[in-house]
Subunit: 482 residues, 4 copies
């Protein structure tokens, strides 16, 4: 007699699909079979039983441009659970002169007592790398097995130059730490921004329009949020990914590119992989579903994020790269703001909080990609479960349906139709970038370590029940080119 049995569910772990019973005991998966009995039995016929989703890219309680992202570890993780997310990975941050430990302890303190699902952190580092790198052995011991670096944001003190990247990648390869990278060419972005907006290093005192861009004939003042893509054109992403491929091949360091935003960028990543560069990559639902037409609306600045939304044709290349296995993960870059926060910009993109809400809609939007034939359904499932779990050292405890694994489960009803609206969702933003988008398929139950925390849209969990996950090293077998 098991604790909990899902009867006649369609079990889908991204590799196989079949109908069976799944039994939970003691917070873990106990058996998969026929005719299993439990103290509680849930009739799951016609529904999918999936591993709980991982969102490996969130920014909870993140200060940005005078605001703070509008979800903390409780509200953000609860919103995730509503959408089937049972594990999240956020970021630590250092203050000047600190190593990795202090930032970790601060963030751990923020999360403990608040998080409603299990969580971990990537160790984020800025331009100064020697102190952080000295803590790598400690980080691995502590279960922080991934680092985050930036190829942009020089003015925020975050940007690495090529030598810094090379050094970080060499150290991480030796330590068994996965390097994750924000890949945009920051030098070009600063140059294009200054030229367009007239900054202190503005090269063109006569106010000439920028060269090489479609805005040639527009006065800068008329651009509004339209300035954002002009200062971060697709080639700034493509070049950065291509360069990172050369560095990854030279150092041998497995390197994971966050939020690939364009089909062209995904192609650059795929090309580097074909040439032997150990690159991995993630994209986000906003790049799969939205495009830069959104900037043209009355509240175009609500859609601000970095990298920016791209031209309509780019998403097709991202779907194709997921299907081809060149991108392995869908995550959110969840960084919600309220309209009042966005409105403080006064037309200046350098003062605009960048980021979109996402953790709650991650699972449905990705699965809809499978249901609507953008990618095979198994590919969509793996991008939410086994792939992030393996790359971030949590598999098979998370991201699988194997006996012995944590009973983190999502019961998904493929026939339940849904409409995305800010009113119906539970994230901290007071708007949704997908407002009004409809689709078929929605989670009807979320289970975390055997505990039902969401059932039919009701919250049954509690703040602080989430545990910190000390992670192992990336399980790269099968993910990298030969």
């Amino acid at each position: 007699m098991f604790d909990l049995v899902f009867k006649d569910a369609q079990l889908r772990d991204g590799f196989q699909t079949f109908v069976a019973d799944l039994a939970v005991a003691g917070g873990t998966i106990a058996a998969i079979g026929t005719g299993l009995a439990g103290r509680r039995e849930i009739r799951a016929a016609g529904k999918w039983l999936l591993p709980g989703f991982l969102d490996v890219h969130t920014h909870l309680s993140l200060p940005f441009a005078g605001a703070v992202s509008a979800d903390d570890f409780f509200t953000g993780s609860r919103a995730g659970a509503f959408g089937g997310v049972t594990t999240l990975i956020d970021f630590t941050a250092q203050r000047p002169g600190e190593g990795l430990r202090e930032g970790f302890e601060r963030r751990l303190a923020e999360a403990r007592g608040r998080a409603a699902i299990d969580f971990s952190f990537h160790a984020c580092i800025g331009r100064e790398i020697d102190r952080p790198l000295a803590d790598l052995a400690w980080a691995v011991e502590t279960g922080l097995t991934s680092l985050k670096v930036f190829m942009a944001y020089s003015r925020a003190g975050l940007m690495q130059d090529d030598a810094g990247l090379f050094k970080v990648m060499e150290h991480c390869r030796k330590a068994g730490v996965l390097v994750t990278v924000h890949a945009e060419n920051g030098g070009l972005i600063d140059f294009l921004t200054d030229r367009l907006l007239g900054g202190t290093t503005r090269p063109n005192p006569r106010g000439e329009p920028p060269l090489g861009e479609r805005a040639d004939a527009l006065p800068a003042s008329s651009l509004g949020i339209g300035a954002l893509p002009l200062t971060r054109p697709v080639y700034t992403e493509v070049e950065a990914i291509s360069r990172l491929g050369h560095l990854a091949r030279a150092t041998g360091a497995a390197t994971y590119i966050v939020h690939v935003s364009s089909g062209d960028g995904a192609t650059a990543l795929a090309t580097a992989r074909r040439h032997g560069a150990p690159l991995l990559g993630e994209t986000c639902p906003q790049y799969l579903y939205l495009n830069d037409a959104a900037f043209g609306g009355e509240r175009g600045h609500d859609f601000s994020c970095c990298p920016p939304l791209r031209a309509a044709g780019q998403a097709a290349g991202l779907w194709a790269a997921l299907q081809a296995g060149d991108l392995q993960v869908v995550a959110t870059d969840h960084c919600p703001f309220r309209r009042a926060d966005k409105d403080r910009w006064e037309g200046d993109i350098t003062r605009l909080p960048m980021g979109l809400p996402g953790i709650e809609t991650l699972g449905p939007l990705t699965l809809w990609g499978g249901l609507n034939r953008h990618i095979p359904l198994d590919t969509a499932i793996r991008a939410l479960t086994a792939h992030p779990a393996r790359l971030f050292g949590l598999y098979p405890r998370k991201g699988s349906l194997q006996p012995g694994a944590d009973a983190d489960l999502v019961l998904f009803d493929p026939d339940r139709s849904a409409e995305l609206t800010a009113a119906a969702l539970h994230m901290g933003s007071d708007y949704s970038p997908y407002e009004g988008l409809r689709g078929a398929g929605w989670p009807v139950m979320t289970v975390s370590r055997g505990e039902i925390i969401v059932e039919n849209g009701r919250w049954l969990g509690e703040a602080g029940r989430g545990q910190f996950l000390a992670r192992g090293s990336a399980q790269l077998d099968g993910f990298l080119p030969d």
Copy 2:
């Protein structure tokens, strides 16, 4: 309390690997989990539990050049069981003027009462196609969902010309039947054979050596078995595969190429797939492990098969094509002869029985390819289980570990070393083409529908226990190019 439980086995179905118990009840898989109990429990820790293998290409009791292949449905299926094979697919054959039914009934009668494992047939047709095609609807109803045609063997009345292929492929596409094809350019092979050997249509009365071949300077009489590859050079396979790709694309018919023998052929197949041709393919262990150096030995003619063994470099391309998914299946073309049969040729390759023993060594040789890193281990497993089961309409009943599936299982000990010798094997040949080859990993138990039929090298089954499998249509999802 289940009938039979494998405790703590490494379950490997070609998609996932994990340690769990697997329970059998009533001939099917009942549950996978932890702490399962059974009337009989087998300690399987450290061993792999795999779906039973499928050999979808055998020639039992086949008359050929005055001999008959040296295994019948009992001895052949029993030998397969020793090597972990639990399903085989052989071929029917028509006599002149017959449709598909008569041949099927004859072969069914041969198999019934003899076969020790489950079996089915491909419906083989020769040059005359109208009668057979008229039986397609009957064949589908009967569970014969694959047809076999030939691009060579004109003198045996088997060769289709392009119009015939086109017509067969169109009919099969409409009927939901998978076309399987022997792909060699028979016209060129006949021409090269005649020229080399001086046959009745010999074009060159002055006995000139062949052009365009390395044998330019050799007298034909000195060639012996070395004549075989000269009359069937790699390009006769490459051209046939390439042509078939054009026909498959034009007709839209899914087309499965048997016994692809060369890396060049596999590349032609892959290229056609990239251009949208719905081609699928199989290779055989003899092409992965042996090469034409074998013809140089004292008993070189023991290695005769069609297509012939190729130059040493070709196997690498076959492994690569398996890894890339352009070839999906490993099967054997099992057609064993005894040395006395081979010796009747008297130096004339046109009188030599072609074929090699293979069904018993299929599983180990393919898995050794995974263990020795020629291909990922999961790829090797899928090529023996899920892939042939899906392509030939038997999945998930065969080829899976899903609850509800037939309990066809192989317990494989990866640490048990083996040496391939004719003396130790159970096939009808009195020699082994792999004599003396050693490897690590061998089946220690074979289970068919819940019944242990081989255990530690002892035969526990009985003739006639195998059942005819009426097959469904090919499950092509994910196998064909977009």
Copy 3:
């Protein structure tokens, strides 16, 4: 003092362009320089001076389906001269049992006393090849250094099977003869024709529409000339070219494919070249300028030719292949008929004389391709001059502006606008497939061996002044893949 000097012409030989004087003496080019003086001086400033064009694919006085092509060696060669053609290569033909000599002598007799420009022949052979191949040494001695074979037209006794092609190619390689091939899969064409039109071997007595073709729903009787492309779909050309590539690589024989009609076919040719097949190719203006929309008109059957006109998108691939050097030559397949001849078909494509007029418009249409940026202008010029001259063993005597070469010259005015109309042209058809097409650029003078034979649209030559050209072997250096 030279015989004739073109002053200040833009000399263009397809490799270089510069302004200079060109002097003629004794029928050959004597000097290129500045300040050259002649008994006759022609002010050529602003005009192009080109080598006379070669049309290496004509069918003069060809019997076809009860008619005879409407130009003989005089009218056809004169029409060519109006368009800048100064060399043509037509075909010999054997009667049953003949070798190459008899056919050559018959055609030579037809041409002598008629031809107004220099001429030569390809030796055409049908299904019977032994007698013709026995004459190869004689042919080379006689200057017939190219052979023509067919992969289609089995019912006219012309089609070679693969063994025949292989044998012809081997012999030609050894003899130094260039094989030229009509590359369409005749077996499939016959099958598709019979099925569509209900021929004697019609496989489908119930009148089913053809499978795998867009005509699925049309009754055959309604197709009219639209049946032509349905019986010769693009894949029948693509497959034949691909197969020929395999044979050319196997035999090592340089092989020239006539009238490549589709971009897909050109891609197949290019792919085979990339893989090392020694293939060369020609296309024709009708495939570059026209498409199958022409069949939809009231007199759609006037556009009948084999291969047929293709879908609109295919021409782009032909232009691209010319630019890439995968096709090297533009020639015409000039085979004009009068409307009365075409009208005898009575709706039956098997009784329709196939062919279009072309020799006079070859040069302008090809050069317009350069002027309109479909290909570089130099590519267009080479495809009319140096390339055919080199491949067919006439260079630099023909196709060049080198001192010592025959003074075969075209003075071309790039600013002279022209409209193509049957009334203004001089070919034997009483209609033009290009009726009404306008372009800029037209020949204003044609010179053959130093003699001005056309000047400003006036004919100054005479019948029979053309000489038979004994050709050397193909000059393949630089044309074949490594």
Copy 4:
């Protein structure tokens, strides 16, 4: 009666080859023909008559690491003439705060009265770009139509970052100036150098060997000149070329990469071109003929140059890129030093004058590449003549055999054998990197504007006869991807 006539020469301009007479009058080519007569006639039968070669990359009188390159404008240009070079392009240089004019006037003064052949300059700029860019219009007017920038050498104040490159490229595109670039990733080179040699920013105080390099186990002190390739590995070139491709595509600026040193670099360039980047490229004889084995000899440091000599396999890719047209030019980077200059380094590569002699051997080594089948002979000729002349705005005045062009000619005897030795050559180095290399083919006469300046190894010219060449814009037609 012409001034000078070459009788019966094989005229070779890289496009066509034929035997004719070539006549010179008034310093220019007057006529090409048969039977031309001159006051002086040179029997040239069996010899090649070529356009004089251009060396578009020389460093005469260049201060470097405390030494000065060992040829000035007289000795360097005279040495070039001995090898068939009749045009050279060197570089200007600015002092801090200067624009382009001052540097130009200084270099012009150095060259005037010294140069023995015609010459021009690329305008070289360092990190400071605003002043120089303000002079672009002046530069174009003056005939300085190419700029040189650096992606390395930060410590010499030369390195541009990506923003600087972008800005320079945009300005040059607008001005019609060709950007030429030294493409190595300077940031990585500095990092690798410091780490290997223990510089001020040396990241590793414990003397660990470098990561990611084959020197892992070597103490830095033992490396000697072997340190050079370790601090400038091939990927520093590959990455820079790849990045430049992204910038060139973004800005639309035609960009010429000097001294591509590796096959991998050439492949990166070719790949960028395939993706539409308007890149052009040059390689040098030292990268085609020498490899890093040279560093292993007793005087390995004599072979020091930047980029360094590469592993033996890399040259094949450079030859292939020349053949494919992805590299268009061979030039020398001529920067000779004497052994005493090289010896001042005392084992410290940062104090070693970098550079090799080359101008005199440019022509023979490149043509030997054609004679020895590394590339087609015409490709070799174009890389020395028409291609550099067109890219640097001198065509057809230089680099052609057209009537009206400057009579800059090389009479080359393909049968004259030569051995390269410092003793026999005329450059300023007292050693030759090719010492002892033998080949067939050597210039026997060099003509500059109609004047014979070298004849059978005797110098007939005089210092100061060379003229400054004001150049037009690059003639890019046919060189760039569509």
